[in-house]
Symmetry: C2
Subunit: 446 residues, 2 copies
């Protein structure tokens, strides 16, 4: 058996490692176009925040371990340029331009996703950067240091943009954030979005929603970010308006793609070609709430899907049940978490959503040090089922979201969730956990 | 409708308040033998830790609110001495010894639980105290202050004992803990128990397991706690060897009691008499994992059961699904949490338990500030079902336990739990949450 993996990060290296454990005699080759494999991309904002730490701290397992201990034929600096499904063959080009090709019995496409960079003039300049690979992280860190960056502009106001706003403020850099649409975090509940917005403002982050960038201009040692009615002078631009799946190889090979261009896979992570699998940020998934295809590129799913590919190749026939879209991020002193559907998702999926947003406390009545916690909860009026939860607060949010995530996997109704026996002690929550308070309020609307 | 409640804390006042909301015209009477109602008993250790705060800070809702706003006939200092089911009547004695009686259409027994005080000589002295009521808390606080307590001995090593060890150390009091059985926390996983033990020792708490107390003697201004081969000199003794349900009224009235003497109730909280309900720490419950009766006196259940009694009296026919025994406590810098069955519970319930204990990290690879987190997980070999989880760590344990608690309510297998889409961000967990790592290891043993 020859197993070839394109892409050497979360999904790819998880698949390669597990394939080795399951199939000691399998020939396993990983093609990685950069020189980095197996790193924590999600850790980059926190690493960038710290001028002392090396970006290479984020490497989870060294290439030498894969090569020598696991006997994986790990080829870095090798870009797969074409898949030829009829011949079970991948064409490769090296960093020096040499071409070659490799045969596979089973192939995994784990090419990940890339930051969307607009076509707008000036976005191709040095100093205007996205953040996805370890090399992106290196570039940003060295740019900050070498150019002595005092002001940065972040284009976009999503999770990565928000995490990076904290990272840059930590380094003493003034931060402006800009995006075309006027509403701040339009998909989130308004009260929760307001808590996030207030925290940005109190940390001196300048917010400029509702401004479409016309161009970025070089202006001596700095840049001008030019909109119709606003010009920002800045030393560096970080582009964080979202990511898109790296699907080109799959498209060229005639594989089926679907939602947002992600490579379409079945529960076993198999593409429309029976010898080719896809996993990680380039592939789609089933949403456990809707039962429909979704594209939610997140690290846990990438690792899990990588494992499942190895299991399937080894003959285990492992189908993954799907994702709930559970995610969390830290921003200044806030924890922000979500799982399941938001209101618009719920409408789009044909549900009749009832919503509630409650404000509660992170600790019990009379326990010192409590802070506010907001819980937004969505249920379907027809079935009574829990559809999604959003939360924000200064403590106890990150792990709290996992309880409704499990409830979504179990298909629980609000009534069933409300009856769950959750933990209580005064330092950690009121007797009625804020999630139960939300469920109780929501039940009245069903 | 005349609704009478015996006991004015969590279950009783929850029931009375909700009954008022559901039945504006109902005559509601609450009999409370102390002068305190509606307080956070669980908050007492934290309050005792702070010499400045008043114990009365723990009152959640003032008696005047129940009386004037909710028109509840709240009678404090009134002890119910006898229930006469044939006459739907409760006999009462006041603090001054006056007797009277009151008629009910529906009665709720919410008498709670009391600390077990051994028959051993000396346990009846002033300065040898249990902790359950607000008055107990007052007594302990004033005793510490007035006697200028420098050394305290805690009898028992359960949750309350451990919480109190921190509270007393916070006040600069030397603490010794003593109990008859040699093993520290015998029902917990050994590794998790060791983490707790090490933390006690590093906080200068002297542990003396394996010592049966023969007597406590007064010795001038101090006490001697005398065992066969150990004598502790101490200024104060806190007895925290467990609690027992206050079932006397129920027993005398011929109501059915069961496990550990708790008043036996059905899913609707009804006792063996159709006009009499029981809720809170005096009543039993169904365990969601075993489907059998259990007695786990905890605050959330008490509140929830109080509500359910009101719902049932109002004609809603609300059956509670049961408890998972989810609990958490803080001790020094540790969070300790559990849900479901422990190993012995699992054996007793007829399961064939497989167990695993893993050590993981509270934050991602390379994220600064991470600490250890231990997860102990139990599953049934026959069905593959999750049976219980224990955890200990310095952060992220308290709320993490709620995810497996929900899984227990849903009856999930380990495999199903392992596939749950949990939240990940580097400040909060590794990509594979420690619970998923435990589930993955446990799956190999099934």
């Amino acid at each position: 058996m020859e197993f070839v993996v394109i892409g050497g990060d979360a999904a790819g290296m998880s698949a390669a490692s597990r394939a080795r454990r399951l199939m000691p005699d399998c020939k396993i080759t990983v093609l990685e176009k950069t020189l980095d494999v197996s790193y924590s991309a999600c850790g980059m904002p926190y690493n960038i925040a710290d001028p002392v730490r090396e970006i290479d701290d984020l490497v989870v397992r060294q290439a030498v371990v894969f090569r020598e201990k696991q006997k994986i034929n790990l080829l870095t600096g090798r870009c797969a340029t074409k898949i030829v499904p009829g011949e079970n063959m991948v064409k490769i080009v090296t960093l020096t331009g040499k071409t070659t090709d490799i045969h596979y019995d089973k192939l995994l496409i784990a090419t990940g996703a890339s930051p969307i960079i607009p076509d707008t003039p000036g976005f191709d300049m040095e100093g205007v950067m996205g953040l996805k690979t370890l090399d992106d992280g290196r570039k940003i860190k060295s740019y900050i240091k070498e150019k002595n960056v005092k002001h940065a502009t972040i284009v976009g106001m999503g999770y990565i943009a928000l995490e990076m706003s904290e990272a840059l403020r930590e380094r003493g850099i003034d931060v402006a954030m800009i995006k075309p649409r006027p509403e701040f975090m339009p998909r989130m509940d308004r009260k929760i979005a307001d808590v996030i917005k207030d925290t940005l403002i109190s940390n001196q982050v300048a917010l400029h929603p509702g401004h479409e960038i016309e161009r970025i201009e070089q202006a001596g040692k700095t840049f001008k970010v030019v909109c119709a009615d606003l010009t920002l002078e800045t030393d560096m631009v970080l582009v964080a308006i979202g990511v898109e799946p790296n699907n080109q190889l799959a498209v060229d090979a005639g594989l089926k793609t679907g939602i947002k261009g992600a490579i379409s896979v079945d529960g076993n992570l198999r593409t429309s070609n029976e010898d080719i699998y896809a996993a990680g940020d380039c592939a789609d998934a089933i949403h456990v709430v809707t039962g429909r295809k979704t594209w939610i590129p997140l690290a846990l799913r990438a690792n899990r899907a990588g494992w499942a590919v190895a299991d399937n190749i080894a003959g285990k026939n492992l189908a993954l049940p799907g994702v709930a879209g559970t995610s969390v991020f830290k921003m200044f002193d806030l924890e922000v978490a979500r799982t399941g559907l938001d209101f618009k998702d719920a409408l789009d999926a044909g549900f009749n959503p009832a919503v509630v947003t409650i404000k509660s406390r992170s600790r019990a009545h009379a326990h010192p040090g409590a802070s506010q916690i907001h819980v937004h909860m969505i249920a379907d009026k027809a079935s009574g089922k829990l559809l999604g939860v959003e939360m924000v607060g200064k403590e106890g949010v990150a792990h709290r979201i996992n309880a409704p995530a499990v409830a979504l996997h179990a298909g629980m109704t609000i009534d069933e969730f409300l009856q769950c026996d959750l933990a209580y002690a005064p330092p950690f929550s009121p007797v009625w956990d804020p999630m139960l308070t939300a469920a109780n309020q929501l039940l009245k609307k069903l």
